[in-house]
Symmetry: C2
Subunit: 547 residues, 2 copies
Amino acid sequence: MELPDVGGHPTMATSVEIFDTTLRDGAQFEGISLTVEDKLRVAEHLDRLGVHWIEGGYPQANPKDAEFFRRAAAGELRLETATLVAFGSTRRPAGKTDDDPTLRALVESGVSTVCIVGKSWDFHVTDALGTDLDEGVAMVADSVRFLGAAGLRVLFDAEHFFDGYRANPAFALRVLEAAAMSGAETLVLCDTNGGSLPHQVERIVGEVVSYFEGTRIGIHTQNDSGCAVANSVAAVVGGASHVQGTVNGYGERTGNANLMTVIPDLTLKLGISTLPEGRMELLTTVSRAVAELVNLPLAPSDPYVGASAFAHKGGLHTSALGKVGGASYEHVDPSVVGNRTRVLVSDLGGRAGMSLKAKEFGIDLDDRAAAALSERLKELEADGFVFEAADASLELLMRRATGWSDQWFRTEAYRVSSYHREGDASAHGGIELATEATVKIWVGDERMVAVGEGNGPVNALDAALRAALSDRLPALHRIHLTDFKVRVLDARTTHGNADTGAVVRVLISSSDGEDSWTTIGVSPNIIEASWQALSDALVYGLLRAER
Amino acid sequence: MELPDVGGHPTMATSVEIFDTTLRDGAQFEGISLTVEDKLRVAEHLDRLGVHWIEGGYPQANPKDAEFFRRAAAGELRLETATLVAFGSTRRPAGKTDDDPTLRALVESGVSTVCIVGKSWDFHVTDALGTDLDEGVAMVADSVRFLGAAGLRVLFDAEHFFDGYRANPAFALRVLEAAAMSGAETLVLCDTNGGSLPHQVERIVGEVVSYFEGTRIGIHTQNDSGCAVANSVAAVVGGASHVQGTVNGYGERTGNANLMTVIPDLTLKLGISTLPEGRMELLTTVSRAVAELVNLPLAPSDPYVGASAFAHKGGLHTSALGKVGGASYEHVDPSVVGNRTRVLVSDLGGRAGMSLKAKEFGIDLDDRAAAALSERLKELEADGFVFEAADASLELLMRRATGWSDQWFRTEAYRVSSYHREGDASAHGGIELATEATVKIWVGDERMVAVGEGNGPVNALDAALRAALSDRLPALHRIHLTDFKVRVLDARTTHGNADTGAVVRVLISSSDGEDSWTTIGVSPNIIEASWQALSDALVYGLLRAER
């Protein structure tokens, strides 16, 4: 286990404010498009996690964000731990504060606290804004003072601070000083281009912290050098006590600092207080819930919260795990962040891994069954099956290897047909689209024939299967599908038309309201692959219902 | 632009060896399963990139790796820049070197250089190996000496070095010393559990570098604290001159240090020589080629090489890009790593982004067309279309907004049918599976009806469409599909059976041998979504052929 390393850094704070900007900077991530509903739900998760600040959006630039703040202020968002923040920029060059649309939108957003961004790199003031350095400073000072006079608490984001400090440290500090003197309570140093490295950040933050003794210094990093998390940690080592980042590191280009990593790094490795007591174990569920809401798959390799973060595959490691326990190859106890250890079965894991996994399922594999299963797994993995993500299918396979067989139903045949016809009126309107599936299934010695309609082929097959079986197997009523994933494999080896004939892997997740499980199917035909995963899903659900 | 920061670190080397372990440690990544063919091709890409060392595998532990080394030695792998390395561990406790199977496999692997791992954390020697500390040291010394006597160059990987050094620095150094005295040319410090932070790594590496003045010190990090890249950089700042990592950061659990990030960080930010002259611009293509070979999607947010790494979406940034150029929001010039700047169109990008994009396509959008297009894009994005990844569909949409219309073919109807029947003999063998598609298409005023068979519904539709059109549109012969991706959206909002009715997004990539393009389709029915992407793919290909 990692030893806390709290000594030797006299400047390090004992507690750090966590500022989440998933709803503002995170929404810039390619592929994210949040509704106002989504934003409200993400904010609830963040509050539950216990972050100090939630930056909700940029009301002037984005009508959706303005609506979010209206609905939050109208009582649709009740926060217990966090404080909501609205984001904006300073007034325009040579403009006035009292008729500035951005500042006005901030005042009208109904929040207690705002965060405004201003330029601290001289080159950007002269070339991007097209004004002089004195006006650049005045824009910051005037805007902070105006917002403070309107009764708001103000945080100041110094854009491009690290590049600016290297190019012209006197000007960069002068901008910060203007913000602080005008009432900004926190000065946030932004590595906007994300190009800095930790040893540089630690040094520069240290210099700023000494210069502004007593004022809270914050850090906001982007991941363009792959160091967003490390730069946040380095800033805290250098004396920062406010860290901005996002859930799962969402953010423009390469993303922002991933708070799911920064929070446990600071807490577990440096002994710094971040979230309120008892909240860190929500980290994994909040990370996954937000991934669902933004509708992007969470990388299994994400530190702390990813599905692979505490997964062990290599023969060396899995046998050591048996001997000396998790501390051998796990840097922290996974339960502390709400995650768990997993043993992966694969061609690299060998027999030892397989036996551990069988034990996890409560199955007693004798040597012969284990050898047969091992052969069968190798064949299936060569075909494209990956059981690491499909525990239920693996358990069924293991049970079958011990001689067990499911007797609920037997398939004779199915047929699925999809039909599309264009209306006369227009090329894009008036399309008639219909999908129908028929199944022929045996339950005992009775033959059931049923038909189902659906939005698509899998939906129609599921409907037909349930129409055939539900009367005889009422436990099916409790089983429902919760997720459906498709991956196309081996596209690289195909040529010409053939690649639409590549192998398709389907994963289906199901639930009976108490537990959930995942099954797999693989075939060149997506319908057949879905059928395999679908029938395994029902068999596993029936097996659970029987237990 | 980032300023090089080469001063102030007297211990820093001017050049660093890059050691790639994608084929050994990277293969432990969940979801990776490489064939020997795959391994040979990955090694060729690494050699082309110009890494110093390629660790090919662990011949004793893995028969596939043993075959890889046999075939490499037999002339199937010709390396021009890199040297191949075989991996193994030290001899067993209380064992002999000359009959040790791991050491024997290394000697027989046919390589010039080996890398062996040994334990440097006292707790692991006593508890995992079950032997005493003197024997732990002897295992390292004997094994290195034995391999050297067999004519091999030896690198030594000190497992759990950072945890070991904190727990018992004297023992950790004694293990390194035994390896060095026995002839190991490089001592690699491994952060096996991945739990260290950069300021800790920099300090400890600095101490080891001072202790072993003149011996090359290497670094091998895992990403469990989200700091694998930063820890590698910190080690180099501390004096290390050999960095181990993998392409795209593949590796067990959270992965290894991503060389696609470490290499440009060291070269572009610290002015250190890593790859031979002229190779760094291959970084993006090698990263993507290896992602294809291991069959895992590359994260768009990957630093330097990801599709989003230099993508700009926010209105603020895209308008600044127009004014002051890339340096404003790009930490390095993307062409240096073989990547490029992209402008993203989305609800956040607004009109400015859309006009930039139209210019990229050579389309002149007037204000009315832009307004209409903007509305249409909003509707489509609300339905689940994402044009960031489907430039060809976006270009067709933009052309249509200017009044252009494709006249090559018009769809009347299609039908796809899949049939599955089980044989009598067994539940799993003897399945009859067939898929057939019919299309009714107009070319001018001629109606074509054609049928196609395929492995799956999309394949059958593609075959039918080509059967109907190829005679009239011979340019279709040059167009082929190269990739097919499926994503299921909104599973979170569905309940019960309905979620197999969730919306499906299909992306199809196509090529005419010169250029490639991507099209999109979205529908609750996967077949309909595929049809949309497929017909756009052909239309775009025909448009290119006409130009």
